[in-house]
Assembly symmetry: C2
Homo-oligomer: 666 residues x 2
């Protein structure tokens, strides 16, 4: 820590500094973030980019009453440090520490728990329209003295706050952002959108808007940015002048800002910039000037991912979200190597192998090439690799078109972000019965990223769709088999797998090395005279096997079945289990609501005679799961061997007494 | 019928006509559509608007091999009539007739089954990228003579087709459209987007883009449009010239097209127009000229909803989707009045009443003001009514912002379209636990609109979310009570109700007139010594009551329980039923997968001892439900009194024999 930052525990402390001191504070802040993230892991490049911008925002506004909305939110570290969370920051993304994303539970300075892209402009519009409406009601109530029964002015919220949404160039092209921009005209009061243009999301930004921004960027010198800033400041305090007139004057003074404004002008949004995102002094003046507008406006600010830390500046994609690392001067090394490979890695490698033999295979992603294991694929087959940017909705529709042309699109999107494509998966893929393969990475709890990033709903939303096949591999061998299966089906198939390494123990490789057959489960362990079967879906199989071992030590034999499919459910094995009078424990890394166990119950209820033996569904509860280690999150939810062990014992007890009870009643 | 149309049974027949004859054909077509839709009901205004445009498209292209993609698709009637479905058209949207939307099951001329907005550009990009890739593979294979194991060129699909996407001005502002436009630059071959600008979706188009189009439109005379057309045609056949050069030349000749092109220019999309959508001759020439580009392009075409039928032209919103009507010269009257009021109407009226007493209530919709019953609300409280256009994703995020400001947003979106907001409902509403009320109209099967429009997944996707309360009213009284309940909860609440009238019989008004209490069901009928309970969710209660009456006539008494809530499930009543040893039949107008019955099974499995009596879930099967009468669709799926009657009898039989079997085993 160092002399200035040491004394900053709130935005009020910040405001005690002179503008000149802020530059030094920014340097200290950057060192503090680097030092912390190298120990805890976290989002690095994006946070190093916006240090000065964030300091300027908190210096110019008062976000106790004003409202600051982050888009995606992974760039909020400086904001958190400035708003009383400096100490907690040292346990960033850890169980007792703070979240890596904004969250109102932590601080009044956070408006929304966010994590997905493209939402800040829309929520800002909502806040602005809300204040606008409350102001009108208050005015009317004061005039008429007729107060309504439940007046909204009862609410102790300010109605003259300033609203600022910070959105990156990668987020602003998201469909939700665009829908919001198209509706921005409804807001008849101040609302500032800060376009944080670092020309790079996680992977380089895709698409026409990105090209357009980059063209503008290349056409301008640093001196141009300074000139633009001067011109805006010179013309802004034009009290009484309309915003259009001000913009006209600025335009006349600096011809080079014209092209950057075209997109926003056609949407009738007053545009200012581009300006330098590291000139704190100017930024503060600009924020003061623009906050006086009684109209929404966009300020276009240039920043750079990884600013001030050369490894992250050179490889921002690698330092998007990083584990702990060592800082050896210029170079960095991972702090530890686990040795075991992840599902993602096995998937990526096998897809590459299959693609070499099958020209039809194309890979589709949405700004997550590295994260979904496609980097090698992109390198080897650049023409067969498609990254559509943060545009999950369109990505799925484009994949549907590709499938219709006879290709085999493999859509690689994290479970949580695939929620953005629900309707497109339904209408353009499932309803048409097109052979699109969805490789759903980050299915289940994801550890340190927390509630916005868990993938706990994909089984539910996918299994309602017609024609959709749902499968999950239990280990690396099954990852490959499942992918081969999926690519041979003439219908849509989902494969889900966690952000985790391949289980190192427990999985019986023999049973799980048989090729996948549609809707067929495999028996991994058969217990002599067992009364209970544990049926698992996906990588949690390993926990069931450990539990079975523990139970065997207590003299209790159980069956362990790897379901492989959640749709269709293997009714043959289900019928067998129930006919044999077995109780069933299902296990999954998904919400209990609508998940695999729920599908199992539905299928069991359909059998002749219905359910006659207990079925216990183990999965995630229906409440937000806080950031923590993934293993810890699973354990807390009881998705582990110990809980299975307890459940099986309790089930045995109930089956005996319960049956007796039934017998007595007859 | 009349002389030209009589002989048109395919696009080949169309091509036998002279261009001069096409104008007469258009008149006949319009009469044919009017005559049919007045009998069958259907989408009228949009179809009358695009008669000439569709004729010109089929005249200029060959959509046996070329590909025509409709956005939303409700404007496809002329297309269907021209492509061999003229006779079937007389049974439009009826069980034995054709769908009101494009569907590949009907014709090779239909590419995708569509119904939701904003998908055509993305799927067109997919088709184009697919052809592009197949072309490259073919070229390479021919050069190297190394053929891969599964070459995509095995597929018997043309790789030099022309691709045309027709998208309305209301659809192009949808987020999915914008994401697609942003990625259009990936296409390095012909792809024509026809922007069908009728300045009006179902309700007047909202937002900045609409204002921009309308400004352009107002600035131009009919003569300007003709001049633009002439200029495009004059400059287009410029072989060897790049598209940028052609556009530069056109721009120089006609200054007035400049403003209309700005939005698309900033996205680097070659833009042509605007041109007159009723000048068939020119349209054909334009299509020929533009189809020769080796680059995507947009042609902006002006049309008018309801063209040629004055009542529809005056009130396009009323004639968006109409039931049968009489054509009395200028005026029209509904063919029949049902007398009973719809859930939508009861909802709309009651919301209005509540809003008078509670200033916090605001209504939010997405281009469906009339359809969701909000017309009076809009009229009475224009400042508290928000229509964000076809932008369901942003609409929900804006509602979240409004809720955060202390307001009580009531989001009125059809079940099927709410699928577009899944992720936003999760992240910005449920995760924040904000009190947004979702009034999910068109929940369940919707009759004539068919598979793209049924609302069969909302229970499933909503009940996975934390904090979310799910309720459904059984009749008009409950509609009001449920709304009052929802507005008083401090958390998000969904209410679902069908596109149907309030049931006229069967509902016991006494039990259903008690206020809604969170998670509490009501017992509507109690049978003496009953062994079976029928538990229903929503308006299907009436069928259960009829079934109970029929069963009583056979001497079988059953309980009938109106669940009211799908989340949380009433565990008290559930426990009571199972403790009393009753079998349960659940009934809902939703997919069996993840629906109310599924939630009931999950809750039952969690009880101590688990499920010990049969539970049968009655609901919709997991396959596309074709267009038909809603009552017929429900009956076919067994969501009716007769099926409940049979199921109850079968269950009784099994409970007796099944219990004996259990007893024997012990």
């Amino acid at each position: 820590m160092s002399e200035l930052l040491e004394h900053i525990n709130s935005p009020d402390d910040l405001k005690k500094l002179s503008v000149v001191q802020l530059k030094s504070l920014a340097d200290e802040m950057r060192q503090f973030i680097l030092a912390t993230v190298s120990k805890t892991g976290g989002h690095l490049a994006s946070n190093l980019g916006v240090v000065e911008l964030t300091i300027a925002l908190h210096y110019a506004f008062d976000f106790k009453t004003d409202k600051l909305l982050w888009d995606v939110g992974h760039q909020c570290y400086t904001h958190k440090i400035l708003t009383g969370r400096k100490e907690a920051f040292k346990q960033l993304r850890q169980a007792d520490g703070i979240s890596g994303f904004p969250t109102p539970d932590e601080s009044v300075y956070d408006q929304f728990t966010v994590g997905h892209a493209g939402t800040s402009i829309a929520t800002a519009i909502g806040l602005a329209l809300g204040e606008q409406l409350r102001q009108k009601t208050e005015d009317r109530n004061q005039k008429t003295e007729v107060r309504s029964q439940l007046p909204i002015t009862n609410y102790q919220l300010p109605i003259t706050s300033k609203i600022v949404a910070v959105v990156g160039d990668a987020s602003i092209v998201n469909g939700t952002s665009f829908e919001a921009l198209n509706n921005l005209g409804l807001v008849k009061r101040q609302l500032l959108i800060v376009l944080n243009d670092n020309s790079m999301a996680i992977d380089p930004t895709q698409g026409a808007v990105a090209k357009y921004f980059s063209k503008v960027r290349l056409s301008q010198t640093y001196e141009d940015l300074r000139k633009t800033t001067r011109n805006i400041l010179e013309h802004m305090p034009a009290i009484g002048k309309g915003v259009e007139e001000v913009i006209e004057r600025i335009k006349k003074s600096i011809r080079m800002v014209l092209p950057a404004s075209q997109l926003f002008e056609s949407l009738n949004i007053p545009y200012f910039g581009p300006v330098d995102g590291y000139d704190i002094d100017s930024l503060i003046q600009l924020f003061h000037a623009l906050s006086s507008l009684n109209h929404p406006a966009i300020l276009h600010v240039y920043t750079k991912k990884g600013q001030g830390f050369s490894p992250a500046g050179k490889e921002p994609s690698r330092f998007h979200s990083t584990g702990p690392f060592k800082d050896n001067g210029e170079s960095i090394e991972p702090a530890s190597a686990n040795g075991r490979r992840s599902f993602t890695k096995v998937f990526g490698e096998h897809l590459l192998q299959l693609a070499e033999k099958d020209d039809r295979i194309v890979a589709v992603t949405s700004a997550m090439c590295d994260g979904t294991g496609l980097s090698q694929f992109r390198e080897k087959f650049p023409e067969r690799f498609f990254d559509f940017g943060i545009a999950e909705s369109a990505a799925v529709d484009i994949a549907a078109g590709l499938a219709k042309e006879g290709l085999r699109p493999v859509v690689c999107i994290y479970s949580t972000f695939l929620q953005r494509s629900f309707d497109q998966i339904y209408q353009e893929v499932a309803l048409q019965n097109l052979p699109v393969v969805f490789c759903i990475d980050r299915a289940g709890v994801v550890g340190a990223d927390g509630p916005t990033h868990h993938g706990l709903m994909d089984i539910g939303f996918m299994r309602m769709m017609p024609n959709m096949v749902l499968a999950a591999p239990a280990d690396g061998v099954e990852m490959r088999l499942a992918l081969e299966f999926a690519l041979c089906e003439d219908k849509p198939v989902c494969l889900r797998y966690p952000k985790d390494v391949i289980p190192s123990q427990g999985v019986d490789r023999k049973a799980c090395s048989e090729p996948f057959q549609l809707g067929k489960s495999v028996v991994v362990r058969r217990g002599d005279n067992s009364s209970i079967a544990i049926v698992t879906y996906g990588s949690v199989l390993t926990e069931a096997l450990i539990a079975a071992g523990l139970l065997a030590q207590d003299g209790i034999e159980v069956d362990v079945i790897n379901a492989r499919f959640a749709a269709p459910i293997d009714k043959q094995i289900l019928q067998l289990l129930l006919r044999e009078g077995k109780g069933v424990i299902t296990l999954e890394d998904h919400s209990c609501a609508c998940g695999f166990g729920s599908a199992f119950l539905e299928a069991a209820a359909e059998l002749p005679g219905g359910i006659t033996r207990p079925i216990v569904v183990l999965g995630m509860p229906n409440r937000p799961i806080k950031h923590d280690l993934r293993a810890k999150q699973l354990m807390d939810a009881g998705i582990n061997a110990d809980r299975i062990f307890q459940t099986a014992k309790e089930m045995l007890r109930i089956m005996v007494t319960g049956n007796r009870l039934n017998g007595n009643k007859q």
